[in-house]
């Protein structure tokens, strides 16, 4: 009897596993669809942001198919749900590449997701397009960073506040994780280099999903009542923003007095609350839905038709996917194949128009060029662009304002071919014995 029990358990286990195996098995043939993996959280805490990106990818793939596919082959999306569970993200990334044999993956939002799947892409030589602004300090051969690095978002925003609003005192408020920590370290060094005294910088961290902002908003008001112009640089993560802005509005923190500039609040987040009391607070992105260009108008119209909701907004990470997808498609066409090495070789230097009237170029460090836009929140949940960098800003993988990384450089073209090349010792960091 005992024997039977053990065997039955094993059989059940094996059954489920083999079912999951056959579900995704496919054999590559000529004319076979090109498979595009979509690795986003559709449940759990990050679903709130990432579900839109999954839809964006489905939208882009549908559009590409309607235009004849790629290399004469149709594109086929393979969607998985990483459920805001990062070990699961690594497992599913492996599955996508090894079992589903996808040719490229678009995915992740958080840094931890990227960090968790990175070894998988390196090991299996896959391609990942990562669409969200992040802390930098990374450049990997198999990953393309289509979101902003700190020099494409944080530093121009601080410059704007300093020059246009005459801000002298700074509150750096963020959620306690690596992106705000790194960004704030960079900003702190940058501000100190600009002559801001240490006591004029207040750094505050809160946990994920923090919902009671009474004390912190009071502290901000207190910090801002010295008679000198104060601003808040917010790297508060998506979910916690709604209660934060609501508390700001209710405690009467007006943009004219203490402006808040955010790096993680876009149109999607603003659609979650009434922005009328928040008019004038700022955000820095590389794309705003309100930017008036023909490309953007067409994108918004197509997107709304696809999602069947004529009020649906667009946001910066969506544009990043748009750019990443187009760059990948161009690279595949240039290489004539979806082979990862060929695409990696072909993609650097390719250009594609972005939605704000500029051009996104894939740089040798696998980041792209972007304009930096500063927008003020309007009462309709949109942004009014008050400042735009005159030129496109190239993404910097390694910050010049961190002691550990100022000598590092990433270049994935020959002869350097290294993600962390030390310009002083002329050695590729990781390869050094």
């Amino acid at each position: 009897m005992a024997d039977w029990m053990g065997l039955s358990g094993r059989a059940l286990l094996a059954g489920v596993l083999s079912a999951s195996l056959t579900a995704g098995a496919a054999f590559a043939q000529e004319g076979e669809p090109i498979k595009v993996g979509i690795l986003h959280s559709l449940s759990g805490t990050m679903a709130i942001s990432e579900t839109t990106l999954k839809d964006t990818m489905l939208f882009l793939i549908e559009k590409q198919n309607a235009a004849g596919g790629l290399l004469g082959r149709p594109l086929e999306p393979v969607t998985v749900d990483i459920a805001s569970d990062w070990p699961l993200a690594a497992e599913l990334a492996r599955r996508l590449i090894e079992v589903d044999k996808v040719d490229v993956v678009f995915g992740c939002w958080t840094s931890v997701c990227r960090k968790s799947v990175l070894p998988v892409f390196e090991e299996l030589n896959g391609l990942l397009f990562y669409p969200v602004q992040y802390e930098g300090e990374e450049s990997q051969r198999n990953v393309f960073y289509t979101g902003a690095s700190p020099n494409q978002q944080a530093i121009p925003a601080v410059d704007y506040l300093m020059n246009e609003e005459g801000v002298e005192r700074w509150v750096l408020a963020g959620t306690d994780y690596v992106y705000p920590q790194t960004t704030n370290l960079i900003l702190e060094r940058y501000l100190k280099d600009k002559g801001v005294a240490a006591e004029d910088i207040l750094i505050n961290y809160t946990p994920f999903g923090h919902s009671d902002w009474q004390t912190i908003v009071s502290d901000i008001v207190a910090f801002g009542s010295t008679g000198r112009k104060t601003a808040v640089v917010s790297t508060i993560n998506g979910d916690a923003n709604v209660p934060f802005y609501r508390e700001l509005a209710n405690q009467g923190v007006k943009a004219e007095d203490i402006p808040v500039v955010a790096f993680s609040v876009g149109e999607e987040e603003l659609s979650g609350f009434d922005t009328a009391p928040l008019v004038g607070h700022l955000a820095a992105w590389n794309y705003f839905m309100s930017v008036d260009t023909p490309e953007n108008a067409a994108f918004i119209a197509d997107w709304r038709a696809f999602i069947k909701d004529d009020k649906r907004v667009t946001n910066d990470p969506m544009e990043a996917h748009y750019i990443g997808f187009n760059l990948w498609a161009k690279a595949v066409e240039a290489a004539g194949t979806t082979d990862a090495d060929a695409v990696i070789g072909a993609i650097v230097g390719l250009e594609t128009p972005n939605l704000t009237g500029g051009v996104a170029t894939m740089l040798p460090n696998h980041h792209i060029t972007k304009p930096v836009l500063i927008g003020e929140i309007q009462d309709d949940g949109q942004f009014f662009v008050v400042s735009e960098t005159p030129d496109l800003v190239p993404g910097d993988a390694w910050s010049d304002f961190l002691p550990g990384s100022k000598d590092l450089e990433a270049d994935w073209t020959d002869p350097v071919n290294c993600g962390n090349f030390n310009t002083v010792t002329k050695v590729c960091g990781a390869a050094a014995p």
Binding site: L42, S43, G44, T45, A47, I48, E50, T51, E165, G166, D176, Y205, T206, P207, G209, H210, S211, D212, Q214, T215, I216, S218, D219, V221, A222, G224, S225, T226, G227, R228, K229, D239, V242, P243, R246, E247, A249, N250, Q251, G252, V253, K254, A255, E256, D257, I258, P259, E269, S271, G272, F273, D274, P277, V279, G280, E376, Q378, D379, F384, V386
Partner: protein
């Protein structure tokens, strides 16, 4: 699990209820009349405008067409040189974003849906004739300029309220260029409240200007010390550096005085924040105190009931917005019974469908309801989408008022009132109604109650429905301060369990005291340790406290406790 509900005796209860009601009434009466939003932050000095050649209104307004931000800034300066009656409507429209340039060439101010007037003349315009409209957008710097200009223009307005806000604006952006204007207005001012504000504004300008005499500064310091808020402290501190030697002692004394006052009120503010956090915890936990505390059901889907309540609010508000926009301010009042009913019915359905098969196996309810919570979350995500939904604050729940040195936001005040009201109502239901009697009977001795003719299955279902309905009420309140997203409930479930366990299972008073204690303790730790460590400290405290009192704060005594 038979956590027995032992509520205080009827007599004592009635007394406490009456006290509570009286307190609530007083509270509402005291603050029911809304004071003006009294946040007057310190701003930077508004720039002095270059003296431009005088222009007429029509010319200035025409020049605003297609102007960039610096062009608009110049126009605002020019408008400031005109008289109040002429310039004010244009400035206000520009600030409010209702000034449009039309394809037909007119500059039109929107005064209502599809109703426009010509900006310079004030004559009505035919909406159809205007063509495409584009609102003039302004930025923060311009917004500040406009406010300062309006302040200057309206200092002598005949309405005292307008004069007050003009003086407040002068205080917020003290500009030495406005001093003569202000002194002129002050001389003719008769309303004492406006006078006081104007004097404060004058003091602010004197301190900011840097050219005042020691005597003037001493006097100004006195005025600001009496005002005693943070903005005053900022001005006083700012003046310390440049003030003449003779005025320093007065300034230092004023700074010390304001500091003391702020420190004193800071404690009060912490208490208020704690009470407010406590009221949120209480609302989230009180439904659990019934399902978990009284029935012994570990309902992991409790958070999802809260979430459903918030979504009901969202749906109700949307319906109101589309069908009866005028009723928007009372949409919450409609949402309260709706949320209670919907979540209550969901609760009854859950009890009839799942929980009733699991009585006597309390830990299994945990597993089933956990599965259920996954289903509900995904269901809501499928129906409404994963993104946040927009639930608006009605006007009576927006903004803040000052009470002494306290800043009290209306939404949190109303949530506190609401939490206490729900608590009081629940006490009444449990202790003073026939249903409450049956419920207590069933939870205390199911078989005996059944033998006495109580339909125990119905009582179970209704009790669970009551607990779930109360969770739905919490959802209505939380929709006013937090995200309305499928994850809403997850953020509160653990805190709710902590409150119930800390307060003592099976006792509503435990939930009240537990929520308030944890809320206030959290808010007192937060300024010193930061939000994360404060929360960790509270959790560790609860773990240790449970060692000391294994049955929570309001432990049940006697045989019930051993059960």
């Amino acid at each position: 699990m038979r956590g027995f509900a032992r509520f205080p005796g009827a007599c004592g209860f009635a007394r406490s209820l009456r006290a509570l009601a009286a307190f609530l009434l007083l509270f509402v009466l005291a603050f029911g009349l809304r004071t003006a939003q009294a946040q007057e932050p310190a701003g930077e000095a508004a720039p002095a405008f270059a003296e431009a050649a005088p222009q007429d209104l029509a010319g200035i307004v025409a020049g605003m067409r297609d102007a960039d931000l610096s062009g608009l800034r110049a126009s605002v300066g020019a408008l400031g040189a005109l008289g109040e009656v002429e310039a004010l409507p244009v400035l206000q429209a520009l600030a409010a974003g209702t000034l449009n340039q039309s394809a037909s060439g007119a500059m039109a101010i929107r005064i209502g849906p599809d109703r426009f007037v010509e900006a310079a003349t004030g004559e009505p315009l035919e909406a159809a004739s205007l063509g495409a409209l584009k609102a003039l957008r302004i930025n923060n710097a311009l917004r500040r300029d406009i406010a300062a200009v309006i302040g200057g223009l309206t200092l002598r307005n005949e309405d005292p309220a307008v004069r007050r806000s003009a003086a407040a604006q002068m205080f917020a952006s003290p500009d030495p260029a406005n001093l003569p204007l202000l002194e002129e207005a002050l001389a003719g001012e008769e309303d004492s409240r406006v006078r006081r504000l104007m004097e404060q504004a004058r003091a602010a300008i004197l301190l900011r200007g840097g050219s005042a005499s020691a005597e003037e500064i001493t006097q100004a310091a006195g005025i600001l010390a009496a005002r005693g808020d943070r903005a005053s402290l900022g001005l006083l501190n700012g003046a310390l550096a440049s003030a003449p030697e003779a005025a320093r002692p007065a300034l230092q004394e004023a700074v010390a005085k304001v500091r003391n006052r702020l420190a004193y009120w800071g404690i009060g503010q912490n208490v208020w924040s704690g009470i407010s956090l406590g009221s949120v915890l209480l609302l989230a936990a009180i439904g659990l105190a019934i399902t978990f505390g009284v029935m012994g059901v570990i309902n992991m889907a409790h958070g999802e009931m809260v979430m459903i309540g918030a979504y009901v609010t969202f749906v109700v508000q949307n319906l109101v917005r589309t069908h009866h926009p005028g009723l928007f301010d009372v949409s919450l009042a409609i949402a309260v019974p709706a949320a209670f009913l919907v979540t209550g019915l969901v609760g009854v359905a859950i009890e009839r469908g799942i929980i009733r098969w699991l009585y006597g196996r309390p830990l299994e309810t945990l597993l089933a309801t956990w599965g259920l919570s996954l289903i509900i979350q995904q269901g809501v995500r499928s129906i409404f989408g994963a993104t946040n939904q927009n639930v608006g604050n009605p006007s009576w729940m927006s903004g803040a008022f000052e009470l002494g040195g306290l800043t009290i936001t209306w939404n949190r005040l109303w949530i506190l009132v609401f939490a206490l009201a729900v608590f009081a109502l629940l006490l009444v239901v449990l202790n003073r109604t026939f249903f409450g009697l049956q419920m207590r009977a069933v939870t205390q001795n199911r078989r005996m109650a059944s033998a006495m003719g109580v339909r125990t299955p119905w009582v179970d279902a209704l009790t669970f429905g009551l607990g779930s309905g109360v969770a739905g009420l919490a959802g209505v309140a939380l929709s006013q301060i937090d995200n309305v997203s499928p994850n809403l409930g997850q953020g509160y479930i653990i805190d709710s369990f902590m409150v119930v366990v800390f307060g003592g299972v099976g006792n509503l008073w435990g939930a009240l005291v537990g929520a308030m204690t944890l809320g206030i303790a959290n808010k007192f730790l937060e300024p010193y340790w930061g939000a994360v460590l404060a929360k960790i400290a509270i959790l560790v405290f609860i773990i240790l406290f449970i060692q000391y009192r294994p049955r929570g704060l309001f432990a049940l005594k006697g045989r019930a406790a051993e059960a």
